[in-house]
């Protein structure tokens, strides 16, 4: 079964007043953080001329499209059309929002009507998001200490020590993205090199 909540990025990679691309299953999303820190995920398409809103710019609590500067407020409703500065845009011009929560340093997205919260990841710190051109089976095949489907978890050897890791799986057209977390206190540089090594091994396995 497909989980409702999908990790689409790590909080550390989305500073204030920045927009980035995300996705839920095949749905492209514009994920953005306002100046005060609020994170939202919207359909990645400006209703005016279809431009990706993830290319847009954040001013205060609004996201604006890079094409014509149309400004959307926190509710997804168009607040301002620069070509017509005196006009109050009709409330029907709005961008569809997804549910979006930030928890344990992970940005999770789900369809708007989703109830409940994503799985809690206590005792873990965010590490890196990393993309692979292989499938989950290849990852599990080269790292038997890991298990799971949507979240690969286990105790692995990092720098000669057993370390708890969690790799949140996000499928995409080119393969998958793993949003990696590791136990608090583990050297993140060593853990990052472990993830790189895991990717090399898994992709080789996947290609074989």
């Amino acid at each position: 079964m497909t989980p409702r909540w999908i990790a689409t990025g790590l909080s550390q990679d989305l500073p204030k007043a920045v927009a980035m691309a995300g996705h839920w299953q095949g749905q492209d999303l514009a994920v953005w953080r306002s100046a005060t820190g609020r994170v939202q995920a919207w359909n990645d398409r400006c209703p005016h001329r279809g431009m990706r809103l993830s290319h847009g710019f954040v001013r205060g609590e609004t996201l604006a499209c890079i094409y014509h500067g149309w400004v959307y407020g926190a509710d997804g409703v168009c607040k301002h059309i620069p070509a017509h500065p005196a006009l109050t845009p009709p409330a029907t011009i709005r961008v569809a929002a997804f549910a979006c929560v930030e928890q344990d340093g992970v940005i999770w997205v789900a369809p708007a009507d989703t109830v409940g919260a994503p799985v809690a990841l206590r005792g873990l710190q965010p590490l890196r998001s990393i993309s692979l051109t292989c499938d989950v089976a290849a990852v599990l095949a080269v790292e038997p200490a890991l298990s799971g489907g949507d979240a690969l978890r286990g105790l692995v050897q990092i720098g000669g020590q057993a370390c708890e890791v969690c790799l949140l799986v996000q499928h995409n057209a080119a393969g998958l993205t793993l949003h990696a977390l590791c136990a608090v206190g583990v050297d993140r540089i060593a853990a990052s090199r472990w993830v790189e090594d895991l990717r090399r091994r898994a992709e080789r396995k996947g290609a074989a």
Binding site: G9, L10, Q12, D13, P15, A17, V18, M20, A21, H55, F57, V58, R59, G60, T62, A64, I66, G69, V71, H80, P85, A86, R128, S129, I130, S131, T177, R188, I189, S192, R193, E196
Partner: protein, 216 residues
């Protein structure tokens, strides 16, 4: 004045325009009809640069045809902080990234010329090499972030960052997305937010750096 033989869509020429702008050095820019005129391959241009490549930087009797050498020259002249820290390790790392920028040009840069200006070649190979280079850059920048750093070498931007920035920031022109490289994206933003930063086509303005105009 220092003269730059320039082409507006060239990532390598942009390196020099950007470096000069950040340093506050004014260049005498001479546009070369690279496309469609192929003026850089003309007999007349070969007198200046037999390799027929752009950019070319001329200052008196000095003629430079390698963009990384131009970065060193401009930084030596106008802002030695941009050379990066001078301890052995850092100095070597700066050289590493200057050389690495050549790999970016040979992969992401060629993919861009293919997709945009119809250069012929193995587009799949160029993109794959581009992704391989971006993975190395992402890994290095992630480690820098874990150590509290922003830039490729040291605590301030250097010629290493400027050398690598253009072909990375323009990678989507060649069909290579930066979506899978969050640390690279944040690093390109940090460069774009620098005081006196200048754009080139394909790298748009960070409008968020200025407040919204008052609505009349």
């Amino acid at each position: 004045m220092i003269r730059l033989y320039d082409y507006v869509l060239s990532a390598s020429c942009y390196k020099i325009r950007l470096m000069a702008a950040l340093l506050g050095v004014k260049l005498d820019q001479e546009a070369v009809d690279f496309h469609p005129g192929r003026a850089h391959k003309s007999v007349a241009f070969a007198q200046l640069n037999p390799a027929g490549t752009l950019p070319v930087l001329v200052d008196g009797d000095l003629i430079l045809t390698e963009s990384t050498a131009m970065l060193v020259y401009l930084a030596q002249l106008a802002g030695r902080d941009w050379l990066g820290p001078l301890d052995p390790k850092s100095a070597a790392q700066v050289q590493h990234w200057l050389a690495f920028s050549g790999r970016l040009a040979a992969s992401l840069g060629m993919a861009r010329l293919h997709d945009m200006l119809l250069y012929e070649g193995d587009i799949d190979a160029w993109r794959a090499q581009g992704h391989a280079a971006l993975r190395e850059l992402e890994a290095a920048l992630s480690e820098r972030r874990f150590a509290g750093g922003v830039w490729l070498v040291g605590d301030a931007p250097s010629i290493a960052d400027i050398a690598c920035f253009p072909n990375v920031a323009l990678s989507q022109d060649g069909g290579v997305s930066l979506d899978a490289y969050p640390s690279v994206r944040l690093w390109t933003r940090a460069i774009r937010a620098l005081d006196r930063f200048v754009e080139m086509p394909g790298i748009h303005r960070l409008h968020e750096l200025r407040p919204a105009p008052e609505v009349a």
